[in-house]
């Protein structure tokens, strides 16, 4: 069953074609990796999906409902949200309040608080629930970001570099978490730089370059696609191979 | 430095000097003890900061002059030579503050009466407090509302704004007629403040009564920086005389812009900006022969008003003069009541006719309040700038010079 269906999404910023004619669809319960060099348009693409950026053309269907032109809060209510690459926490609120606020989308304050604690427990941050979000380390903040997105009760969750700056142990934990979310029926799109991680957890990988979808396939297919290697890893990698 | 024994907070150099003086004069203490009756506190609430500060300070100067003179002449005789103790306070430009200050003066300083507060809005706010506390309030604010609300403790020393506006027109017609000119078309321009609108209403009503065509009737925002549109409209209106009602800055701007545009019809100002020394200072020769209505003018009693000029260095502007009269009348009332209790003073103020002293500087030569508290004897005067002085030119019975009418 297709949960997310994207057709012909394009977006220009001034002279820059940030996204051009991106088309793909995701069945429910997949973990899809989105990779591409810096500036390839990954973050722009996520922002477009959740309604922060309005595409110039194209359609986005979430579980059968069109979300193009909807405000982000509407998209979130329909079940799709994202984390922020540059960690956009409410720095002067506690960790718990950060997550709780997201829970308010579907619950009252008290239930949201319980939900938030569950979400924090899942990302392993229950112990710092009462710290100010701004006082956490970068890796911790990324996990709060994840818990917050989770607490909106999404059908589709877009994770933008949640593993940046994690050590291998932490990374393994997050990977396990992502898998367990999938087992709960959440569909995940993951932008990540860490190749090994993405190759391990993803069922499928999309490669974006200059706003264009370059490849779409299993991790093995993508890793062996010469076009991808050239674009993403660059000439020098070729030389060292 | 004033010589008043006014309340200034803290120990002043003056009171130290006074203390030293009394020590030196110790043998005399016994004989003068009886004369040292409890001073009478009189509240003076004026806008001492903000846009109206200058007028507030002028008013205070006038009041201090009279207070010092009375104190020097032995104080209030009916109270055993009690000295007048002025409690001066800043109303700022906010009516609510003025009201609070009045409350303070009444409860903290137990004032017998309050003088103030130049601007009508401030005076009205104070009157709401004085009325509830039964304290007499003497004012030269001339908004019609002041005595129009049936208050029992308010005394308006000058004619009302509507009367001033009416006189502004009527006197002008008379002056023009006296020099053989006829006016049937006029222009009114006024700042959209309480003062401007009230006086313009008076002008309008008078013009209607006299069957004069109002070719232009425009309000403009206070603090206007470009009067060209107004003057363009004036030119187009074909009016034979213009009646601007404004404070100094706008007055200067209007007259200058008129002259720049070679408009030579007479301008008859509505007091405020037209009857202060700065008007002449700003315009120089171009102030000559400009007419203005005024509630009172210093040349009606030069012997008195020259004392002001001597002490403060400029002629006694009308608000200073009227406040001086107000204090004089108040003291006369205290003398008459032989009491400094507010109720007694109010009783004494109402209905009686006050003559002598500063009252002769007013047009009626005396002051008499009707049941609403309005001084029925006061009529406005028309003054004209002549060689850096304001000369009263109308009404004829008090005029000190003949009006020059050029058009």
């Amino acid at each position: 069953m297709t949960i997310l269906d994207v057709r012909g999404i394009s977006r220009r910023f001034g002279g820059l074609q940030a996204l051009s004619d991106v088309t793909f669809s995701v069945p429910k319960g997949q973990i899809v990796g989105l990779i591409g060099p810096n500036g390839a348009g990954k973050t722009t693409f996520f922002s477009t999906l959740v309604g922060l950026i309005r595409p110039d053309s194209g359609s986005i269907q979430l579980d059968g409902t069109s979300v193009v032109g909807q405000k982000p809060h509407k998209v979130a209510a329909l079940g799709m949200t994202k984390t922020f690459q540059n960690v956009a926490l409410f720095a002067e609120s506690s960790v718990l309040d950060n997550v709780l606020t997201a829970g308010l989308l579907r619950h009252d304050v008290e239930t949201a608080r319980k939900e938030a604690l569950i979400c924090l427990d899942r990302v392993g941050l229950k112990s710092v629930a009462h710290k100010l979000a701004g006082n956490l380390s970068f890796p911790e903040r990324a996990r709060v970001e994840l818990a917050r997105a989770l607490c909106t009760g999404p059908k589709v969750l877009l994770l933008d570099e949640v593993m940046a700056a994690l050590n291998p142990v932490e990374m393994q934990e997050i990977m396990n978490l992502i898998r367990s979310l999938r087992d709960d029926g959440i569909t995940l799109l993951v932008v990540e730089h860490h190749m090994r991680a993405i190759m391990t957890i993803c069922d499928r990988i999309l490669v974006l370059n200059f706003g264009r979808l370059l490849a779409d396939g299993t991790p093995e297919q993508v890793a062996n696609d010469p076009v991808v290697v050239e674009a993403y890893l660059g000439r020098s990698m070729e030389a060292h191979k | 430095m004033s010589k008043t024994t006014s309340h200034r907070g803290g120990l002043s150099r003056r009171s130290l000097l006074a203390g030293t003086a009394s020590l030196l004069a110790s043998p005399m203490i016994v004989s003068s003890a009886r004369a040292q009756a409890k001073p009478v506190n009189i509240g003076v609430i004026m806008p001492l900061s903000g846009a109206n500060a200058q007028f507030g300070i002028n008013s205070r100067n006038g009041i201090e002059l009279v207070a010092d003179e009375i104190n020097a002449a032995g104080g209030i005789k009916a109270l055993g030579g009690a000295k007048i103790n002025l409690i001066v306070a800043d109303a700022t430009s906010t009516p609510t503050t003025a009201g609070t200050v009045a409350q303070r003066l009444i409860t903290q300083n137990e004032v017998t009466a309050i003088l103030g507060a130049f601007a009508s809005s401030l005076t009205i706010a104070i009157s709401e407090v004085t009325e509830r506390r039964d304290i007499p309030l003497l004012t030269m604010s001339f908004a019609d509302q002041i005595t129009g609300r049936g208050f029992k403790n308010i005394f308006q020393i000058v004619a009302k704004a509507s009367a001033l506006g009416k006189a502004q027109l009527d006197y002008t017609l008379a002056i023009a007629q006296a020099s053989g000119a006829k006016i049937d078309k006029i222009a009114i321009m006024y700042e959209d403040t309480a003062y401007g609108t009230a006086q313009a209403a008076g002008l309008r009503a008078a013009a209607k009564a006299a069957n004069i065509d109002i070719a232009m009737d425009d309000a403009y925002p206070l603090g206007i920086t470009d009067t060209t549109p107004l003057i363009n409209k004036l030119r187009a209106s074909g009016a034979q005389a213009v009646f601007p009602v404004s404070y100094l800055n706008d007055s200067l701007l209007l007259i200058r812009t008129m002259r720049q545009q070679r408009i030579t019809i007479p301008a008859i100002g509505g007091a405020a900006g037209y009857v202060i020394p700065d008007f002449e200072k700003g315009l120089g020769e171009f102030a000559e022969n400009v007419l203005s209505i005024a509630p009172a003018n210093y040349d009606l009693a030069p012997d008195l008003t020259e004392r002001f000029r001597k002490r403060f260095g400029y002629f006694m502007v009308h608000e200073a003069l009227e406040h001086a009269v107000a204090l004089d009348v108040l003291v006369q009332a205290i003398e008459k009541a032989k009491s400094a209790r507010a109720e007694d003073v109010t009783m004494a103020l109402r209905g009686a006719k006050f003559t002598g002293g500063w009252t002769k500087a007013m047009t009626g030569g005396a002051v008499e309040f009707d049941s609403t508290g309005l001084n029925t004897l006061s009529v406005p005067v028309m003054a004209q700038w002549r060689n850096k002085e304001l000369v009263t030119v109308w009404p004829k019975d008090v005029a000190k010079g003949t009006a020059v009418w050029k058009s």
């Binding site: 002279g15 820059l16 060099p37 810096n38 500036g39 701004g134 006082n135 956490l136 380390s137 970068f138 890796p139 570099e161 940046a164 700056a165 050590n167 730089h193 860490h194 190749m195 090994r196 190759m199 200059f210 674009a231 890893l233 660059g234 000439r235 020098s236 990698m237 030389a239 060292h240 191979k241 | -």
Partner: protein
């Protein structure tokens, strides 16, 4: 300066923003004429090292010396006078100013020098595209051109040490290659370069020596060839 004395010497550097410490006990040194890179994951603290050198980080402890000068006592606007030019991450060109003006500002501390026009000429030789665009507002340029402006602006100082922070970020591969060719040229003319780069392959390609930063600590160091062959580096950063 003797050859044995390092041009840049960092010892026990701790640095952070507010309550968060980003760098923990960094030791790093480089000699005149070297081309050194710092690699590592996003947010590992690479940029913070450069920002600490330029005195842009509020809380810094440890030793920071450049050509015999103690940097910790300097104000940030003093740093260029010592001959350090910093190309910040995200380029930070003066977008409402012309390309030429941007370049001139690079020489602000050397504004009394007589050879400014020949310096600019040199930059136009390195990046011919900038010559065409000299009168254009920097904000209207493409990303690659803006990066050229940022690098050119730094070169106007004729620095002894050039700090480059993520110069390939968000650029097309072709432009990245051009850029790296330019770095090689700049280095060959005698300027020492300290490069921070997320694109590990490219970084090791141009630099002679490198440091690997992980969570605010130096995890590894060595020549580019050594690092390139290191299985841990290959696994972690090259995805192989």
């Amino acid at each position: 300066m003797s050859a044995s004395q390092p041009l840049l010497e960092i010892k026990g550097l701790n640095a952070g923003y507010g309550e968060i410490e980003v760098l923990h006990g960094i030791d790093l040194q480089m000699f005149e004429g070297e081309f050194v890179c710092i690699i590592g994951a996003n947010t590992a603290g690479k940029s913070t090292i450069l920002r600490a050198i330029s005195r842009l980080v509020p809380h810094v402890t440890g030793t920071l010396r450049f050509a015999g000068n103690d940097l910790s006592s300097r104000a940030s606007h003093d740093i260029p006078t010592l001959g350090i030019a910093h190309v910040p991450e995200g380029r930070h060109v003066f977008s409402d100013m012309m390309v030429e003006e941007n370049l001139m500002l690079g020489a602000f501390t050397a504004r009394h020098a007589k050879d400014l026009s020949s310096r600019m000429e040199g930059i136009f030789e390195l990046f011919p595209r900038l010559r065409e665009r000299r009168g254009q507002l920097a904000g209207t340029l493409s990303g690659g051109e803006q990066q050229m402006v940022a690098v050119g602006r730094a070169l106007m100082l004729q620095p002894k040490l050039l700090l480059l922070d993520e110069p390939s970020h968000g650029l097309a591969p072709k432009v990245v290659e051009e850029m790296h060719d330019a770095f090689t040229k700049i280095h060959s003319r005698g300027t020492s370069i300290l490069l921070v780069e997320q694109n590990v392959g490219l970084a090791l390609d141009v630099a002679t020596r490198g440091y690997v930063l992980e969570s605010g600590r130096i995890a590894l160091q060595g020549t580019s060839a050594e690092l390139n062959e290191n299985p841990a580096v290959r696994a972690a950063y090259l995805g192989i």
